[in-house]
């Protein structure tokens, strides 16, 4: 079985090497400060006890007041999995460092995240749209993309036929 590392363990391990790189940690993930992302990722990749050389998945999440980029990491030699996150609070022009220098597998995934979520990856070698055409208005995976006058936020408020209830005003 793949051992899923707790966010606390990952954070502790990072802190031994990079004392102020960790912004937050939960049982599930460790959050890294954006300005130390590259060093932290390089450490996670090169540390012989973690050896997280395989970037499984990279994606962005719109949390309304901030954007998150989630990295699902894997160690093939040690059969470990870990989750690392980084946040950007700039709603208009979110930017995080690109991890392409650490994991080349991030190349297309960062392009995808830029295209659909509008997060800019500083230092990416070729940051262009990939699925949508140049000139497409906005970045559709953002929660407010449908928020035109008279429109509404994306998301299913309630099941069909269900009375309006505590979930009213979701999103």
């Amino acid at each position: 079985m793949t051992t899923v590392l707790s966010g606390f363990d990952v954070a502790q391990r990072i802190q031994q090497k990079l004392p102020d790189a960790i912004a937050d940690a939960t049982p599930e993930w460790a959050e890294v400060k954006a300005d130390q992302l590259i060093e932290t990722c390089a450490f996670l990749r090169d540390d012989p006890e973690l050896d997280l050389r395989f970037l499984s998945s990279l994606c962005g999440v719109d949390r309304l007041d901030h954007f998150e980029v989630v990295y699902h990491l894997l160690s093939i030699s040690r059969n470990l999995a870990a989750t690392v996150k980084v946040r950007s609070y700039d709603r208009e022009n979110p930017e995080v460092p690109s991890v392409v220098p650490v994991w080349r597998g991030a190349h297309f995934q960062e392009r995808e995240t830029y295209d659909l979520m509008g997060i800019r990856f500083e230092g990416h070698p070729d940051l262009r749209r990939i699925f949508l055409w140049d000139g497409f208005p906005g970045h559709p995976l953002r929660k407010d993309w449908l928020n035109f006058p008279g429109g509404q936020m994306a998301g299913l408020e309630r099941f069909p036929g269900e009375p309006r209830g505590p979930l009213e005003g979701r999103g």
Binding site: M1, S57, V61, I76, Q109, L156
Partner: protein, 365 residues
């Protein structure tokens, strides 16, 4: 003499690109000096659509990402949601999931191998042979769920319905003939002079580069990395069946092809065990129609025929996923395409792309 680089577009509508996919090659004579890919022709924005659907309503989307292997798409998604909700599917459903996934893997690999032979110049004959067995597998799917391609079979907490009584005899009959068919294919293709000449030593992907570029599935194993999520992190009932991880040695196009052929044999092996070991009992647990997973997130990964298929599902406690992300192996396996294509000839680029085995529905989503 004055020369200049020549740009040639292969696709979007071209038989060698296996869908609406465009390779933009810059050529110096016959040699490729730069390669770019243009995708998005099939982009349906499933990740956004899923935010407006209930968790169960998302399952049909997963058929339509990788439409050559719908069963594994279904499975990966429901496993992620089950992880999020802490639901465990009953025993029989776990085995049905293994059976369907392996049938699907055989069908998908037979298509990959047949179409790859097509790319090598064996025009249509191997494909037609491969499709014969694929058809029989699709007939089994039709028995089980009424559909052949967009199966929509897996459910959160089990599968949509039990298999009908005629399924098992038909599956046993098919399994009895598959090994002889495999002998036939291997005799036809594996030592075939044209295939060997076109693929050996072409598109070599070293193991280091494969891991660095997040390549997974038969492509990673072709480079000699023994990584299979069915073994490394067993899901459904894979922990209880015996099979081998098939690896290549050189990481070239030929090895990727051999890994797929060998995996088809292993799928037969798994199916034989699974059909024996499947117990009776219920095939699904009751889940609320209005399923509201707890606030949180889950990443579920499985070994699809193309590699690591992952679903990242974020719930805010509402009826629909707050965020739904597909980590599609076809898309990420294209990352080293540029490295593999540079220095190769145009004819090699076709074979290299064929050996990656993309499904454009999954590349674009």
């Amino acid at each position: 003499m004055k020369t200049e680089p020549f740009v040639v577009n292969i696709g979007p509508q071209h038989p060698s690109t296996h869908g609406v996919f465009r390779m933009r090659l810059t050529l110096d004579g016959e040699r490729i000096t730069d390669a770019d890919m243009v995708i998005g022709y099939l982009h349906r924005s499933m990740e956004k659509l899923a935010e407006e659907r209930s968790f169960t309503q998302v399952i049909p989307f997963t058929d339509r990402t990788d439409y050559v292997a719908a069963m594994t798409g279904n499975l990966a998604y429901v496993l992620a949601v089950e992880k999020l909700c802490g639901i465990e599917a009953p025993e029989r459903a776990q085995w049905l999931r293994v059976i369907m996934s392996e049938l699907q893997r055989f069908a998908s690999h037979s298509m990959a191998v047949g179409v790859f032979a097509n790319d090598c110049g064996a025009w249509q004959t191997p494909v037609m042979h491969m499709f014969r067995e694929r058809e029989k597998i699709l007939d089994l799917f039709e028995m089980a769920c009424g559909a052949r391609l967009t199966t929509n079979y897996m459910r959160i907490g089990g599968v949509s319905r039990d298999i009908p009584p005629e399924f098992l005899p038909a599956a046993h009959k098919l399994l009895a003939e598959l090994p002889t068919r495999m002998d036939e294919y291997e005799g036809l293709l594996v030592e075939n002079e044209i295939i060997v000449a076109r693929s050996r030593g072409v598109g070599v992907l070293p193991a280091e580069l494969a891991i660095a570029t997040s390549v997974s599935g038969p492509m990673l194993r072709g480079s000699g990395v023994a990584w299979d999520i069915r073994k490394a992190d067993p899901y459904a009932a894979y922990g209880r069946v015996e099979f081998d991880i098939c690896v290549g040695t050189n990481g070239d196009v030929y090895d990727r092809f051999l890994v797929r052929v060998a995996e088809m044999r292993q799928s037969i092996r798994i199916l034989e065990q699974a059909l024996e070991m499947m117990p009776g009992g219920p095939v699904a647990v009751d889940i609320p129609v209005a399923l509201r997973p707890p606030v949180g997130e889950a990443y579920g990964r499985i070994e699809s025929p193309r590699g690591e298929l992952g679903f990242y599902v974020v719930s805010d406690g509402g009826p629909a996923p707050y965020r739904f992300h597909i980590r599609s192996p076809s898309y990420i396996n294209l990352t080293p395409l540029r490295d593999l294509a540079i220095g190769a000839t145009v004819a090699d680029a076709i074979v290299i792309l064929g050996s990656i085995d993309i499904v454009v529905g999954e590349v674009d989503r």
